[in-house]
Assembly symmetry: C2
């Protein structure tokens, strides 16, 4: 459990907010894209002053140890942390909020809370760390219900077993990233799963959203690291899958709950494959003339049978922006190439990879500055969402979206999406910037992660954002990408996800949901009922 | 399409039957386990002389190009190739057989056949290569239907696209292993998926059974190599998933059809991730004093971050048996350790792995005989099922089963299953042998592949087999294994699979099936309806 204070109206923890220097650097970097002039800031949302939708539900006395209808609790659980969510905090009043927040501390209390919700016909929205950037936890369109309870799982936390021989940890669903790693450290093991939300996202949330973590290759997606899980259904029954390295017995049950986003039950525990703590590490920054060259180099590295722990590419705009945050300049595209191992030296793998990238014109940063691009990027990574909060005060739209495509769609897909987003920014904001990095890579394709920035104005943030988001999403879908590589579908992506997910499968999962949750209580509205 | 003739009453192709020398060697090797005395052989089943269940269905004139009710066609599709299936050919008369065999040659003709079956209420049993060893294609318990049509997919074959840049092939579901590789060869690519059924199993069958192939690690299971697929539902609608390296958009649709064993639709095409043809290869045979030592060495290799293409362990009994087939002797356990790459030298990986295995007492076979154990094993691998046919003539029970467990269950699990199977053999057959190899390995566990042999008598093969199979399966389940690592559930494994698959998931998949196949026509009896 984290002792820090969640920011009720922004990213992360209040204690981790931007320093004065970071504020200055962020504003300075951003101003470069806007002729050096940023508009006057408006005030950030004030938690105490916000109006929430009236609570419709009373707390039954026998559950009062676990339930709260406190204003701050309801506000903290009213939205996730997508741009739309944060714009909603500024622009929607009264803000739709769950009527009650539940904090189960055991499977037993969770079962009691779910039974109460089902009896009272209250929508149940499972809530891990609340870092959803896709509208996964918002109480929308719940007129058919008598209320809504946000079930915050962070008290269902901790490690229940470390199987060192099998390199597996059994961990409760509400456990935060740093707590998981702290428990593994004495065993010489680690999850090495560091999403941008690492400090305030949970194991259950990672699985329910099919997230991706530290590793660019091989161990990228969490669903591949799930050995088994325990899931509580609405009626309190447990689904417990068998701990197995692999099986061929019918359809894989684990995969039904990976990506289930809380609409098929609550993941109370999972057995995850874990890693040795790295003993050998080598990371290089490599500059390419163009992003296209960097993509081709990445493809060849992947298809050669090398599995770098880090293989991230920054297009020239992103590279420039990343270094500008540290007050430096940059040209060309950057590849961050890193190998790590708990057991084996990494020199040979690195040499093979460097030989490949050189044939594509990649040039290692000279030793004196070798770490600079990489460390600037690392520094920026966990701070970016805090910058987003700051710049929203200035009426700015800034958001990211990630997708993945087969290699054969590149580089055309990159340009198509970049241009569609830029065109929408120009139309909506007058001007703006689009940049792209890649975060995870496969033998058959890569994950492109776009950022975009544009000037809007207080009161129009949500509306303007949606217009740009829609243009970008349409380009992603038209180009053959996924609407989300590792942030899940959520409510924000549903219109485009509908195109990605075949109709008969939508109906099949709906039927599965009905068999598990006959009254449709679990995170209603998330899955399709067309 | 293969020009060879399928053996209608045994494994594989008639042209590939055992040579006289192979027969002699097999009988000689087997006799070592039975005091040098094998019983008198009885005649193998004769296809022409067999009685099939009376056909109940007429062939409609408009479908006659694709349908057959010929005796030999019906017989060929009456069973798969499990021991129970082959015993049934000898011991059950009349033999339950599909009334009609369909050979669709396009998605269009497939849709017409399915529509006819649905209209006439005929059970549809999809049939790939017919090599199921788990009772996946037998027309059992179909009293609720007006008949049964076996839909043989081998005319729905061929490559539709090779995406060299993405290293993906689009291939129709009925394509046999050798045909897939032949089409990839000019591109310098290969599937490198060599199950024992390689010559007569199909891509669609591999996926529907969640099979495993050539690679012991990393690329072992087919479900991890499926980028996208096309599935035809009973009503002719196509499910077409988007070609993506990864996604996080809700539940993964591909995974619903991986392991679906024909009860959720017919896989007409798949996009599979493929490999470069290996240019660098190194394979060693390593002898360990005990199987336990070999297991520990394998675990350390896997957990060190090495991914050998081949990592197979033979316990002393299997090692002895494997070499006896080639007229040689052996002591101790054997590890077959191989690295291969299409791009990178493999010396360093091999040296690291050898350093590890040496610390566990592994000794490389001397150079003069280095390949011997390995080549003996390779030779035996594809021939073993032919030997099974021969020895059934001698009234012998011989079968295999595979499972997988986390490393922490070893070596105890190995001994438990070995002993339970041996005890059952002793009780049922008076004597017998159990041996074990491992075929696929993971950071968190390994696949154990047991073989057992015992003397029975004509007329009692099926009954005796079931008693031994049940004892082995109970030990597998009690020990925390899966009832099948890569051969699927089928009808043979259902009683134990029920224990492996959580009840709510059984109901959820049943609900999904009902939404896709409302009349329950597709491979009825395969999935649970408890």
């Amino acid at each position: 459990m984290n002792a820090k204070t969640r920011n009720p109206v922004g990213w992360g923890y209040l204690e981790d907010g931007l320093t004065a220097d970071e504020r200055k650097a962020a504003l300075s970097a951003m101003s470069l894209f806007f002729d050096g002039k940023l508009p006057e800031p408006s005030a950030a949302p004030q938690a105490d002053a916000m109006t929430l939708s009236p609570a419709r539900t009373d707390i039954p006395p026998q559950l009062r140890d676990w339930l709260s209808s406190d204003h701050h609790e309801r506000l903290l659980h009213a939205v996730g942390r997508s741009y739309r969510d944060l714009a909603r905090l500024r622009e929607v009043s009264p803000l739709p909020a769950p009527d009650v927040v539940a904090y189960p501390d055991s499977e037993e209390s969770l079962a009691r809370i779910l039974a109460w919700a089902d009896r009272e016909r209250l929508a149940v929205i499972p809530f891990g760390g609340g870092s959803s950037v896709v509208g996964g936890v918002t109480p929308d369109d719940l007129d058919d219900f008598n209320g809504c309870v946000s079930v915050d799982l962070q008290r269902l936390q901790g490690i229940t077993e470390v199987d060192e021989r099998s390199r597996v940890v059994a961990v409760r669903g509400g456990t935060l990233g740093p707590d998981l790693d702290a428990a593994l450290k004495p065993h010489g093991l680690t999850m090495r799963y560091f999403p941008q939300s690492y400090f305030h996202s949970t194991v259950g949330g990672w699985i329910a959203t099919r997230g991706a973590g530290h590793f660019s290759t091989l161990y990228a997606k969490i669903e591949d690291q799930v050995q088994a899980m325990r899931v509580m259904l609405l009626d309190g029954r447990m689904v417990e899958t068998r701990p197995l390295p692999a099986s061929s017995v019918g359809v894989d049950p684990n995969r039904l709950w990976c990506g289930s986003e809380g609409f098929l039950g609550i993941i109370t525990e999972a057995r995850l494959r874990i890693q040795p703590r790295p003993q050998h590490r080598d990371t290089r920054g490599i500059i390419f003339a163009t992003f296209e060259d960097a993509l081709e180099a990445a493809r060849e590295v992947l298809q050669s049978g090398l599995y770098p722990a880090q293989l991230r590419l920054l297009d020239p705009a992103e590279h420039f922006q990343s270094r500008a945050m540290s007050g430096r300049s940059a040209e060309g595209a950057l590849m961050i190439l890193g190998f790590e191992s708990g057991h084996l030296p990494v020199e040979h793998a690195m040499q093979h990879a460097l030989n490949i990238v050189r044939t594509h014109g990649g040039k290692e940063e000279p030793p004196s500055s070798a770490g600079d691009s990489v460390s600037d990027w690392r520094q920026a990574f966990f701070r970016q969402p805090y910058v987003r909060d700051l710049l929203m005060d200035y009426g700015m739209i800034l958001d990211t979206f990630e997708t993945a495509v087969p290699w054969s769609r590149l580089p055309a897909f990159y340009h198509e999406v970049q241009q569609a987003t830029q065109t929408a920014l120009n139309r909506v904001c007058g001007q703006g910037a689009v940049m792209c990095r890649t975060t995870h890579a496969y033998t058959d394709g890569i994950c492109l992660y776009f950022s975009f920035y544009g000037r809007s104005r207080p009161g129009a943030l949500g509306e303007h954002w949606l217009e740009i988001k829609a243009a970008a999403a349409e380009a992603v879908m038209a180009g053959g990408g996924t609407i989300s590589h590792h942030h899940a579908m959520g409510r924000d992506h549903k219109p485009w996800a509908k195109e990605e997910i075949p109709a008969p499968f939508r109906a099949a999962v709906r039927a599965a949901k009905t068999s598990l949750d006959p009254n449709g209580i679990m995170n209603p509205g998330l899955w399709f009922d067309d």
